[in-house]
């Protein structure tokens, strides 16, 4: 039963982290980086849930942590998208290399 093994979930979470890292380096738009950061957050939440299921004494803690990660991710996405819209309005570009001076 591979679905009832802690290490399976840890490896899946590590692959999610690596996917996020790769996308963060590889994408050249701010929105692509935001998408990649969601993968990293999901890997963390999956780790919390895996340890919650197989190791932790209180099975509610991991669920609450994953829920908080979702809330933080929602807040982060809202803030990041509004920042990206403001940056695009100011610079007419979403390329991080063009906006790195922070002023026009």
């Amino acid at each position: 039963m591979i679905s009832a093994n802690l290490y399976t979930y840890l490896i899946i979470a590590a692959v999610l982290l690596v996917i996020g890292l790769y996308g963060m380096i590889q994408h050249r738009s701010l929105i692509g980086m935001l998408i990649s950061s969601e993968f990293i957050l999901n890997g963390a939440a999956l780790n919390f849930m895996a340890f919650n299921r197989f190791v932790a004494p209180n099975p509610a803690v991991g669920q609450i942590y994953a829920l908080f990660i979702m809330g933080i991710a929602a807040a982060e996405a809202a803030i990041a998208v509004s920042i990206i819209i403001a940056v695009y309005r100011k610079f007419q570009s979403e390329d991080p290399e063009e906006v790195q001076d922070m002023k026009r």
């Binding site: 999901n42 999956l46 849930m49 299921r53 509610a60 996405a77 403001a86 100011k90």
Partner: protein, 175 residues
């Protein structure tokens, strides 16, 4: 009984495949809209994994918050931002490819060695409660009440901050 177990295992593999394929779609596609679609597919796969970890509540929350809300916000950002064909040309850069591959391989191998071969996770002896929503709600209202209130304050701050940030510089353009 055995047949049901095989079906469950096959579904588990399907959810893992959904997660990974969505992830590869998100990081390899040139159009940002396809990347968001890949993100949604991958998050749906993670929701299935939460179900296998024994929490239907978190599965629903994942679909509701991530697939429903966060992806829609990102789609909004994509549509309000640059035009697609401009982005398609310069979205993915090839210059960083060796750096990205080295960073990802090193990170994954280090994590794999650290978790799978070097660490022994011991299941705690005492066990309280269960995975039910009732128990989660009790914990959320008694033991983790402060964190629960803080997350609502953070969400409120994020909403107000997002409105102020996105509203900035709008009047000059229209008038």
């Amino acid at each position: 009984m055995i047949v049901y177990q095989y079906i469950a295992e096959a579904l588990f593999y399907a959810f893992v495949a959904l997660t990974f394929m969505g992830g590869f779609m998100a990081i390899r596609s040139r159009l940002l809209m396809h990347a968001v679609l890949g993100l949604a597919v991958s998050l749906f796969g993670v929701a299935g994994l939460y179900f296998y970890l024994g929490s239907p509540f978190l599965t629903m929350m994942q679909i509701l918050i991530y697939v429903g809300a966060v992806c829609i916000i990102i789609v909004l950002g994509v549509m309000l931002g640059n035009t697609p064909d401009q982005l398609a040309i310069k979205n993915l850069t090839r210059g960083n490819l060796p750096l990205a591959l080295v960073a990802c391989t090193t990170g994954f191998v280090a994590l794999f060695i650290a978790t799978v071969t070097r660490t022994e996770f011991v299941k705690s002896s005492e066990h309280i409660g269960d995975m039910s929503i009732q128990f989660v709600g009790e914990n959320l209202l008694f033991q983790y009440c402060l964190a629960f209130e803080l997350i609502s304050v953070i969400l409120l701050t994020a909403i107000i901050g997002a409105i102020i940030l996105a509203r900035d510089g709008r009047e000059e353009k229209t008038s």
